[in-house]
């Protein structure tokens, strides 16, 4: 790829980026969130048209007009969010788009070929299973098989280990090496230095939409890569005082059971206590009941069995309004869906939970000057950039939107703050800001439950770690954290 430039309205996602990948190598594409790695790969996969630049494969210049063309050239891309249709079976997902629209489905033959391919590559999977029934790790195998089935010899993997336990990651890397011996070229998009060092032959570092450099992995060090990636020396530790000595239990969950959207039991006996003045990190591989637990705590999902206690007393947990009134506040994982109203102004969003309280309204009549003033206050105190109280929330970048939501929720002065994936998709600056605010809130004596699949985040912020596995708490850890034991707990081993 030579001099690729891709602009979006208002941003240049790729600025004259060149990338050359050798046949049969594992090439890491390293960079922070928003550095333009995924955009570059989407260009290679034909999803985006480059505004300028050229692509050549095996020395021949090519024009990639769409995913179909990319597939025909032997390119496959496994996206960070899997491109699998949940209600369809594995075989159906694999065969999708493979033949002409007029042809009949031969699922039996596909399943046979698929099983054979799976056996050869060590990616075993049941072709008849519906995708939604499979654990994420297996879904990932399906994604890879989808492209091997099409004869791909260049595989792009976007943050593949985000959904895997350390143990699964090791096994996954073994599969990648095996694929490499079969002549498959692999591009691995990641922001984790350890992975780059562990698996890649060469590494290209990107920052702010530009290519910084390409290096042989053997000739470099993690510290050097970190510096190249962030552009300055990095604080590997978040500045943090130890948690307060005096802690009282605030929120206690007893044997919680709840079902997911499909009616299956997703929480199967969660018992957990969060104390004032601490950050309790709930670690776990994605899809082990975290979303359902967050929903239960927000009051939007009903409990099948179990109880919730606040300050030692059992409380009803039936409606978000009641939950908020009891001082349990959430920063939801999906900012645009659950956190904010994109078509409301920042000021309107700022009073979403408080619009019917004084001073924002009296006897059902809104007090707009006060609401705007409050919006302005949040913008200043939380450094929400490029925003006025009357500008639309939907216009904010992910980081600034998260600041707005965090500002609103912390200003509610809660007893318990539940932060779910609070920095997913944010750049370095916004991540640091969110982390600092969470610690400040803890130091103010609040109880914080941090639900995150990002282990680094859990490790750097938590005063205590609990691990969730298949809807149960599999174990708890106290500092100093034992990483090996954490890995075992994440993988479901009883400890």
């Amino acid at each position: 790829m030579l001099d690729i430039t891709k602009r979006f309205p208002g941003v240049v996602a790729n600025d004259r980026v060149s990338l050359s990948v050798r046949k049969g190598e594992i090439h890491a594409l390293l960079g922070e969130n928003g550095a333009g790695k995924t955009t570059l790969m989407n260009v290679l996969y034909g999803l985006y048209r480059p505004d300028a630049g050229q692509i050549a494969i095996h020395g021949r210049p090519v024009e990639i007009s769409g995913p179909r063309a990319a597939i025909d050239l032997g390119i496959g891309m496994v996206h960070q969010h899997f491109m699998l249709v949940p209600v369809l079976s594995v075989a159906e997902n694999v065969i999708l788009g493979l033949h002409g629209q007029a042809s009949l489905l031969d699922l039996a033959a596909t399943s046979r070929r698929l099983s054979k391919l799976a056996a050869q590559t060590g990616l075993s999977v049941d072709p008849a299973a519906k995708v939604w029934q499979l654990p994420v790790g297996v879904q990932q195998r399906v994604e890879i098989l989808k492209f091997l089935f099409r004869g791909a010899d260049i595989l792009i993997l976007d943050e593949p280990t985000a959904v895997l336990t350390p143990d699964e990651t090791a096994r996954f890397f073994a599969v990648l090496r095996q694929l490499q011996t079969r002549g498959v070229t692999i591009v691995l998009i990641t922001h984790k230095l350890k992975e780059v060092m562990a698996i890649s032959d060469r590494v290209t570092v990107m920052r702010g939409g530009r290519q910084v450099t390409t290096l042989d992995t053997k000739g470099t060090t993690p510290a050097r890569l970190a510096q190249l990636m962030v552009g300055r020396d990095v604080l590997l530790e978040v500045a943090k005082r130890p948690a307060m000595a005096e802690r009282r239990p605030v929120l206690a969950m007893h044997d919680l059971h709840a079902r997911n959207e499909r009616g299956l039991m997703a929480l199967r006996g969660v018992s957990l206590t969060v104390h004032s003045g601490e950050i309790l990190g709930l670690a776990g591989v994605s899809g082990n009941g975290q979303e359902e637990l967050a929903d239960v705590l927000a009051g939007v999902r009903s409990i099948e069995a179990g109880a919730l206690h606040l300050h030692g007393q059992a409380r009803p947990w039936t409606h978000p309004r009641a939950v908020l009134a009891q001082g349990v506040v959430q920063v939801p994982a999906d900012r645009l869906a659950d956190g904010a109203v994109a078509d409301f102004t920042i000021a309107e969003n700022a009073v979403l939970p408080t619009h019917n309280r004084r001073p924002f309204s009296r006897r059902g009549i809104l007090n707009w000057p006060r609401i705007r003033e409050f919006g302005r206050r949040l913008i200043e105190e939380y450094d929400i950039r490029g925003a006025r109280p009357d500008s639309m929330a939907g216009w904010l970048s992910g980081g600034n939107l998260q600041k707005l939501i965090l500002a609103r929720q912390i200003t509610l002065d809660p007893d318990v703050l539940v932060a779910v994936q609070p920095t997913r998709g944010l750049d370095v600056g916004a991540t640091e800001f969110v982390h600092r605010k969470l610690i400040e809130t803890r130091d103010a004596g609040k109880a914080i439950l941090l639900i995150s699949t990002d282990l680094d985040e859990i490790l750097s912020l938590s005063d205590r770690i609990a691990v969730i596995y298949e809807g149960r708490i599999n174990g708890e850890l106290l500092p100093p954290f034992d990483l090996d034991r954490l890995g075992l707990l994440l993988a479901g081993d009883e400890a």
């Binding site: 996969y45 999803l47 985006y48 769409g66 995913p67 179909r68 063309a69 597939i71 891309m77 996206h79 899997f82 491109m83 699998l84 249709v85 949940p86 209600v87 369809l88 159906e92 997902n93 065969i95 999708l96 788009g97 493979l98 033949h99 002409g100 629209q101 007029a102 042809s103 009949l104 489905l105 989808k146 959207e261």
Partner: protein, 314 residues
């Protein structure tokens, strides 16, 4: 009440049930494809009306039933193209455009009717002729119910298994289902979301237009208000049928049964005011929607395919 229990009465009513199920079944089968691809087409009420009008006109001019069907399908495809342009290319709100299109067609067909027939109210035209199937129609009871119908009814009943086969046993059907559940996943495998959605809207509108022909041919006349919400009822049948052809068939037959029942009771001059009998289909539709809450099919959520009404953008 005695008259209701006779065999003749029952046969006639069941035969009528299949007759009345015909247009709704046709529209519902088409709408299943449309919705499975992620488009909610509330314009089918208007498309059916358009089909009814075109069918009436072509039948009047040519007298040829097959030509009439072809013309209606062609008209349906044209309307589908226009609707698809708004739904897919312009990404317009599907609810709003669909409803407005249906309302507009009332004005347009009534204008065109006057334009073509110069305000003269026509007498009843040739009706939809029955085409008894030799042999099978001789079977007692069943023969009269199932095999002494018009070609449109046979077509609708045949299309139910065809639709099932298309949806579950062909690459096209698989693509349609994928596009309506997770369009981006389909796109990344080179399946064109736009093309499949257009095709699905065209299928839906073509089928709805043929369903519309039933009205003008069955009643032998055209009125701009003759549909009485049958297009919307077809949409409800799709929901009741959990976006599956087989269950839509069942829903359409139940609906036809109620329609036939209401009509027979009216004829028997039972003391219930006829207006209440005419309400039955609409009450039933609401009940059917209530019942469907209890079931879930093989689509992404109880409220339909996951990407229903969500325009796709890369």
């Amino acid at each position: 009440m005695d008259q209701m229990l006779t065999l003749t009465f029952m046969t006639a009513m069941l035969a009528a049930a299949f007759r009345f199920a015909t247009p709704i079944l046709l529209a519902a089968l088409g709408e299943i494809f449309t919705e499975r691809s992620g488009i909610l087409n509330l314009g089918i009420e208007g498309v059916m009306l358009g089909g009814a009008f075109v069918g009436f006109y072509v039948m009047y001019v040519s007298g040829n039933m097959w030509l009439t069907f072809l013309a209606a399908i062609f008209a349906g495809l044209c309307m589908g193209g226009v609707l698809g342009f708004f739904y897919i290319t312009l990404r317009a709100n599907q609810v709003v455009v669909g409803i407005l299109f249906s309302l507009m067609m009332v004005g347009l067909t009534s204008f065109l009717y006057r334009l073509l027939f110069h305000e003269t109210m026509l007498g009843k035209q040739e009706r939809l002729t029955q085409l008894p199937i030799p042999g099978l129609s001789q079977i007692p009871f069943l023969g009269e119910i199932l095999f002494t119908q018009s070609p449109l009814t046979y077509l609708a009943l045949l299309l139910a298994p065809v639709a099932h086969f298309l949806l579950y046993r062909t690459e096209f059907g698989l693509s349609v289902r994928a596009v309506g559940e997770h369009p981006r996943a389909a796109d990344t495998l080179g399946v064109s979301v736009t093309r499949l959605r257009y095709l699905s809207v065209l299928i839906g509108c073509g089928a709805a237009a043929v369903g519309g022909v039933f009205f003008s041919l069955h009643f032998g006349q055209f009125l701009d208000e003759m549909l009485l919400g049958r297009g919307y009822i077809a949409v409800a049948i799709v929901i009741f049928g959990q976006w599956r052809p087989g269950r839509a068939l069942l829903g359409a037959i139940i609906f036809g049964l109620v329609d036939a029942f209401a009509l027979r009771l009216q004829a028997l001059s039972i003391t219930v005011p006829f207006q209440f009998l005419l309400m039955l289909p609409y009450v039933l539709t609401i009940l059917a929607l209530l019942i469907s809450v209890r079931f879930r099919g093989d689509v992404g959520s109880p409220s339909g395919p996951h990407a229903l009404m969500a325009p796709y953008e890369r």
